[in-house]
Amino acid sequence: MAVASKPPALRRRKVGKKGDVPRSIGTSSIMWLLAVVYGLPLIWFLLSSFKPAGDLFSYPLTVFPKHWTVSGYTQAWTKFDVAQYFVNTLIVAVSATLLTIVASAAAGYALAKYNSWWLKIFAGCILLTTMLPGETILAPLFVVIRNIGLYNSLAGVVVPAVITATGTFMFRQFFVTVPNDLLEAARIDGSSELSTFIRIMLPLARPIVLTLAIFSFQWRWNDFLWPLIILNDPNQFTLQIGVASIVGAQNVNWSVLLGASVLSMLPLIAIYLVFQKYVMSADINAGLKD
């Protein structure tokens, strides 16, 4: 098992291989078909956001708006303090994501590379956290937050959300595939455990870091019930609270709701577009090859 001398390779294009073109057509068409299936409801949703309220329920149904309008968006913009809520949500999402990545990477690495009985138990404990539904644990969790004194603060929104079994296990499964030889080599070189982790292992896991960043950002961005309960000061409200205030007790102003929903999704799409480049194009053969 020699350390490879191959550079982190670009996948070599096997040009001119027999059967390449029909292969491309076949694979591409399946992919495009799936994309259409996945995209249709979205397109319809997006187009509906440009329809005036009166046309949303017209019969016969139309996919394309007869009269294009952005009134849904303009009304949504003035419905609540979009800019302030956006900043608050950004603070929550970014800080939670940073903390989550740090915590999950460290814990995942520990679970992957060290064999102790108490680590195995801890892995089980982390998994346990996914087994109680959030709605159940809401009231007791609130009692805890209140007793700690984090009520009515953005910290109270961020801190309980940092622990995630998904994130921890993502890193664990990745680090499991990193050969122990690397770790052993570092130890022989005299590097301490922590510095091996930070200097060598963590950079290897960049695609996982970015993937978890995307996930964590979305989770915090779409959080609704918990921020609503924790925050009292409207200057700290998050975007989802604003969007939810469009839904009335007895009726819903659909065109405004659609506009607000699309607006609140835009930052998520932007984050994804930026990060996924690194995730998709990273060639991560974990450093060591045959």
């Binding site: 992919m31 995209g39 019969y59 087994m131 455990e193 053969n285």
Partner: protein, 317 residues
């Protein structure tokens, strides 16, 4: 080199000796370095775990032994709630429905996400830039909005799908009045929403499979399917395991999406277990009873997780 395809890390000695039962193949060092370092690494998660899971869970467990109504005193009733639960037919109905739902969604999501991941990673598909965004978008939507979209699409009276069916000459299907059809709509919606998440996990895993394996297989004249079955699947097994496990747990706890699509209806036929807990407990102010139901659910999920772990270990070794 991928040296382990099981769910648990196994140590392999560099010189090819059989692995000792205790995981030490490096020169024995002070015990401290390997207790302190991992302890430090899990410290954040540990503190958060104790503070924001154990503490509330203990409070909740306490409630489950009382007849707490959310306000006032919490009279101790022992195992009363659990006994009531065992004989509550609505609880079993909800549990059974949830199991059926999970049994449909998890395989479907697995296939869909692995498939899309494979297509996105393959060199043969063109136009990935657009499709990778399209596949990802459904996951960004909040469950409430997704619920609205699918409810409109499959609306019984004026939904798009029934409209197309009737235009093509067929008869409109009772997507909302028929409990099973309604559940099918939710299954489709849940798969649609959940694909992207697992897809990204699979993409990371697929990219981690060394190309050398594929090249070796090419030399042996293997076709795409054989390569997939013999190389890809085993190589991504750790990720597959975690995808299936997390999907199962997540789907068993489904509430937001199904409530947004059909509110647990028609009637109460599509009430899943979390909705049952929420309505009995928090709406009807029977906090003690709802907490008991939550812990029974916890127990069931633990059993499912253990079963999956054992199954994957057996397959892996």
């Amino acid at each position: 080199m991928v040296d382990s395809v099981q769910a648990e890390p196994r140590s392999v000695s560099a010189a090819g000796e059989p692995a000792p039962t205790r995981s030490r193949w490096w020169p024995k060092r002070k015990l401290n370095s390997y207790t302190v370092a991992p302890l430090l690494m899990i410290s954040i998660n540990l503190v958060l775990f104790l503070l924001f899971f154990i503490w509330p869970a203990v409070i909740g467990l306490n409630y489950s032994f009382t007849s707490y109504t959310g306000v006032g005193p919490a009279p101790y009733v022992g195992l009363d709630n659990y006994e009531r639960l065992v004989s509550d037919s609505a609880f079993y109905a909800a549990l059974w429905r949830t199991l059926i739902y999970t049994g449909a969604v998890v395989p479907l999501t697995f296939v869909a996400s692995l498939g899309t991941a494979y297509l996105l990673v393959s060199q043969h598909s063109k136009g990935k830039t657009v499709t990778r965004v399209v596949f990802f978008m459904p996951w960004l939507i909040s469950p409430i909005i997704a619920g609205v979209i699918w409810r409109w699409l499959f609306g019984e009276n004026f939904g798009l799908v029934n409209f197309v069916i009737t235009e093509l000459g067929g008869k409109a299907l009772p997507w909302q009045s028929n409990a099973n059809l309604s559940l099918i709509v939710v299954v489709i919606a849940a798969t649609w929403m959940g694909t992207a998440f697992n897809m990204l996990l699979f993409v990371a895993a697929l990219k981690n499979v060394p190309t050398s394996y594929y090249e070796a297989a090419d030399l042996d004249g293997a076709n795409a399917w054989q390569k997939f079955r013999r190389i890809t699947l085993p190589a991504i097994a750790p990720t597959s395991f975690i995808v299936v496990l997390l999907s199962t747990l997540h789907t068993m706890k489904e509430y937001g999406l199904i409530f947004a699509i059909n509110a647990g209806g028609p009637g109460t036929e599509n009430n899943l277990i979390v909705q049952y807990i929420y309505t009995t407990g928090f709406r009807k102010a029977q906090i003690g009873y709802a907490s008991a139901a939550s812990f029974v659910l916890l127990l069931i999920l633990v059993i499912i997780a253990v079963v999956q772990l054992l199954a994957s270990r057996r397959k892996g070794s």
